[in-house]
Amino acid sequence: MQVTESVILLVYLLAMTLFGIYFYKRARQSENDYFTAGQSINTFVGAFAIFAAVASSSSLMGAVGSGVALGVPYFFTYAFGVIAILPFSMFLVSGQIRRAGVKTLPEFFKQRFGNSVQMVAAGIVVVGMTFYMVPQLTASGLIGSHVLGINYTTAVIVLGLGFTLYAALGGMWAITYTDLIQGAVMLIGIVVLALFILVDHNGFVALINDALAVDPAFGDVTQPWMSYFGLFIAFLWFGIISPSVVMRNFASRDARTARRSAMWACLIYLILFLAGFMVTSAGASMGIVDSLANKDMIFVSVIEQYLPPILGGIMLAGLMAAIMSSADAMLLAISAGIAHDIYKEHINPKATERFVTGLGLAVMIIASIVGIIIAIDPPGLIAIMVGWVGGFLLSGFGFPIVLGLWWKRANTTGALAGMLGGVIVFLILVVGQWLPTNAEPIIAAPVSLLLLIIVSLMTEPPSKAVQDQVDYYHTHLHE
C-alpha cells in the first residue's frame, strides 16, 4: 500500500463526495436541473466540463498504454481523432441540435423521426454507455488496487459503487461543477509530470532517443492500416454520437457560450495530449511494459518513477477524477435514456418528476453492476475497449443524427434501417473477428449510411412539418 498516495486519494474522493451531496438538493429542484444543470453553465466552467466529459480515463491511461505497447504513431492516431472531436461536432451538429431544443439524443430522434426511432436509440445508448463503463472501471480498478494495496476485483467493486453513489446523489449539477476541479487537476497534473520527465531526460529530443534506444520500434507503425483508420473515425465521431458529450453541450447558457466552451476545451485537450506524448515516451524509455500484468498500468509506473510521492498522489487523484467524471456522465446518460426517454415518454407520461429521478437512480445502480461484472475480467486494452464503444455508437447513430439534421428527405423507416443495420453489422464484425481490431466501423458505418439513404428514398418522404423542422435547425445562420 502506498500510504501518501492513499491518503491524498481518499481525501480527494471524500471532498468530491461532499461536493456531490451539497449539490444534491439543488439537483432535486427539478428534472431539468438534474439532467442538464439548468442550462446555466458559463464558458470557463463549460470548457472544463466538456473537456472532462470527453477526456475519459482512456484519454490518459489508455492512449499512453496503447502508445507504449503499439508504438507512438498509435498514440498520435488516438490524439488525431480525439482532438478533432469537438471541432467536428461543432461543425456538423452542435448548433443545430441546440436549435432543436432537446435535452438528450433520443429526444432529438423522437422530434425528427418519431417514437420508434427514439426507443431504438435509447436502447443503443443504454447498451453502449453500459459497456463504456467497463474501461473506466478497469482503469479505476488498476489505480485503486495499486494505491490501496487491495486486489483488483475488490477495487473495481468498491470504486464502481462509489462512482454510482456520487452520480446518483448529484446529477449533472454536481458532475459539472466538480468537473471544473477534476479537469484542472488532471491538466495541471499531466503538465507537471511532463515537465519532470523533460528535465529528467535533458530535453525533448533526448527523451525520444532514450525511448528509441530501449524500444527501437517505438516510432513505427506496427498495426494494420485499418486499425489506425478505424480508431481515428471512431474517435472523430465521438462528440456527435456520445450522449454524455452532447448533454454537456446543453448545459451551456447559450449557443455562443457553448461554442466558446468547446473551442477552449479543444485547446485544453491539445495540451493534455502534448504532455501525454512526453509520458508515452517516458513509458517506452522505462522498458518495463512487457513485464506488466496489464499494459495500461504503464501510466501509473511513469508517475511513480518520475514524481515525488505527494505529487504522484495528486496526479493519481486527478486520474481517478477523470475516470469518475466520465463514468458519472455515462451513468447519467444511461439513467436519462431509460427513466426519461423510455419510461416517461412511452410507458407512463404522468409519472412525477420525483419518481422519474428515483427510477434513474435504480437504473444507474443496475448499469454499474453490469459494468463491474464485465470489468472484473476486461476483454482488452482500455484504448481498444473505448474504440469499440465509439465504433458501436458511430455505426448505430452517427449518420441518422447527421442526416437527420441536414437532409430533409431522411425518414423514419430509413433511420430505423440505418441504425439497426449499422449496429447489427458492427456486432457481427466484432464477434467474427475477421477485421483488425477497431476496424469494424470502416464497414459498419457506411452500411448504416447506405441503408439510411436507400430506404429513405424507397419510402414516403417525411411530412411537411418535419421538413420545415429541418430548415428550422439551420436558422441560426439566417435570422
Partner: protein, 72 residues
Amino acid sequence: MASRSKFLDPGLILTVVLVIYAAFVFIWWPTDIYWLGISLVGWLMFVGLFFWFGLGIIYALWIERIEGKNDS
C-alpha cells in the same frame, strides 16, 4: 431574413477541410519515412492536432461574425 444555403454553412465547409487533411494523411500513409526516429505518419497527425484546434477557432469566430452581421 437572408436566405443562406446549407452548403455555405461554415460548419460544412470546415468539415470538408478537415476531411481533406485526414484523407491526405491516411491515403499517403508514409510509414517508411522517419524524422527523429518516428514515422512521418505520426508527425503528420501531430501537426494535425494544431490544425484541428485552428479550425475550431475559425469556426467559432466565423459564426460569431455571421451572427453579428445578422444582428446589425
